[in-house]
Symmetry: C2
Subunit: 365 residues, 2 copies
């Protein structure tokens, strides 16, 4: 890559709109008294309960930031899951224009857009920094836009959980055989791995997990990480808390924008929406990194039995995860195109990390 290209590429996703277009818009917008300024009152549907720690609060921060930065010219009203549409129908609602904006996890709509999960989480895959390097400076966001365009949606990265945990278990995991017959709540590609290991995936909304675990309707559940898991009280319904979160080394959340609505925004408001999403993208990760640590301390102080999955179990999970990711990508041409580019790019990031990011942890001792 030539230096000229590097400099040009650095602005992608942050300042893609030419400043001259922005000035023209400004003159038309600011040219009359307040009453004549065009105001936009947008709705944002989300996959999260009201005031949900971490990701839900992040979505609300996004809305507040946009309203604040635009001086009220673009207001965003947030709807919790179920208020306007159910949690898993956010993508559809934005696609058909029921709401201009949506916030959720890409893999929630993998039934409709199989490629979506590659922008979200991969077992034994990228951490938050790697996912974001790929998205914003490794070609990822362009593939994401391409995958969502047929649905009339512009996606922006908007928050990440960081490293998750392997979940809560009422059965000890001593060998790969212990997954046989295990009933576990775990979505996405991790769920497919569990199925291949002989387990049974049982999916359900957040509100039902605790009871299902407590009554034995399920033997195990993966949720998010210590911060959200503590809030759900899962430690009161399970014996063991396993690490590390092999199934989700990070989960990337998205802002869905209805493309027709997007095109009605002047350039300054488009820039505000982009920057707000990016600001929340960082802040949510910082929030999770701080609060997960604090919540794990609290869980341990309450006597939770935190364990690491055995090496041979992790090795087998990795093998199966590799097969699941490949077959998932091969089942859909768009997913296949995304995964081929992503796989090659991530391999290069992983190789680099060995002597750098990873080694920093090692030498710190």
């Amino acid at each position: 890559m030539k230096r000229r290209d590097i400099i040009a590429a650095a602005g992608v996703g942050l300042a893609a709109t030419a400043l001259v277009g922005c000035k023209e818009k400004d003159q038309s917008v600011a040219g009359g008294p307040a009453a004549e300024q065009q105001k936009f009152n947008w709705k944002m549907v989300t996959s999260w309960p009201k005031n949900f720690p971490g990701v839900g609060v992040g979505a609300e921060n996004f809305a507040r930031l946009v309203t604040e930065m635009s001086g009220g010219r673009l207001t965003v009203k947030v709807y919790a899951a179920g208020e306007l549409v159910p949690a898993l129908e956010v993508f559809d609602a934005v696609s058909r224009g029921t709401a201009e904006l949506g916030h959720g996890a890409p893999y929630y709509w993998k039934g409709k857009v199989p490629a979506a999960q590659f922008f979200c989480a991969l077992p034994f895959g990228p951490n938050a920094a790697e996912m974001n390097a790929w998205l914003h400076h490794g070609g990822g966001i362009q593939l994401w836009e391409e995958a969502y365009k047929p649905f009339g949606i512009l996606p922006l990265a908007c928050g990440n959980t960081g490293v998750q945990t392997a979940g809560w278990f009422n059965k000890e995991i001593k060998s790969v055989n212990d997954f046989r017959g295990l009933k576990m709540r775990t979505p996405g590609l991790g769920g497919e791995v569990l199925t291949k290991m002989g387990g049974t995936v049982v999916n359900m909304p957040a509100g039902e997990i605790f009871t299902a675990l407590q009554t034995g309707a399920i033997d195990a559940t993966e949720w998010i990480g210590p911060y959200n898991d503590l809030a759900l009280g899962l430690h009161k319904a399970a014996k063991y808390y396993y690490t590390p979160g092999w199934q989700e080394p990070s989960v990337q959340f998205e802002l869905d924008i209805n493309l027709k609505a997007w095109e009605t925004l002047p350039a300054d408001l488009q820039a505000i929406v982009r920057a707000a999403a990016r600001a929340v993208n960082g802040d949510m990760l910082d929030d999770y990194n701080a609060r997960n640590m604090e919540a794990m301390e609290q869980l341990k102080s309450e006597g939770v039995d935190v364990r690491r999955l055995p090496d041979d179990v992790l090795a087998r999970l990795k093998e199966v995860a590799g097969e699941v990711v490949e077959s998932s990508a091969n089942a859909d041409p768009v997913a296949k195109k995304v995964w081929e580019q992503q796989k090659a790019y991530l391999k290069r990031l992983y190789d680099y990390a060995e002597s750098n990011e990873k080694d920093i942890y090692t030498i710190r001792g």
Copy 2:
């Protein structure tokens, strides 16, 4: 922490300004025709040469974003190092109001504000994610604001290099003795460690490093990482490229805002400045994580001899670094206050990382 507090705290640094204040401002600002709107034309001095990859481009992105989001109501003109003030006088220039904004590395002004380096980089210290978790959700930013307030400056996090490298050497490092008499360009706490190891620190501006290394005026230099090092051509003047960057597992950059100028901004423009800084904070790290990997590949393809510092050398460097950080903190009451809070917090993050962030690298294999 109670749930109420957690939710309230989640907005800190992102949406601290009440929306009601914002609406009032909006009415006054938007109440007249364009010519009557208050416009702000601000200057931003930086420590970077024009079009400098990574950090310099990030500073320019910040300026562009603010101008774009505000529809030209707040324009930011960027000055490269030396155009208005020298690279290392950015902090002073913003403090006295020569420029409303500045962009640089906190440890550049450690002579004036010894606490600054704790917001920047610590040998064997936090990576970018940990530094940012501490800053934004672990009490760091409040300490930072307190440390800069006497100088009339509001600091915001605005970019990070991620993991650096240990630098370019024309002498092989086989044991701790090889640091004796070594003349090396390396600033900050890393430089103090080198001095204690028997080396001689020689500091100089970026433009002089290549020649100094080539002529043997210095035996070694640390600069930033593969992306910037390649741009400077350091591989053409040194035999060995050592990893990992023990001295700077991450370097956090700052936006300096003149407090008096800040107070003249309406709430919507303040929100825009905050969000632009936060957006660039994430984007610059993504940029470095992508480009460092690519640049290292190129360096290797050009035959650069990339080596890891020996374990016993790293162990001794760590020991000395611990002493240097402590004595540096003890030499100044503000620095001491910052470090005591930071040290305790980082220890908790490091402990958590062992079974989570670090383990993710291990299981990926």
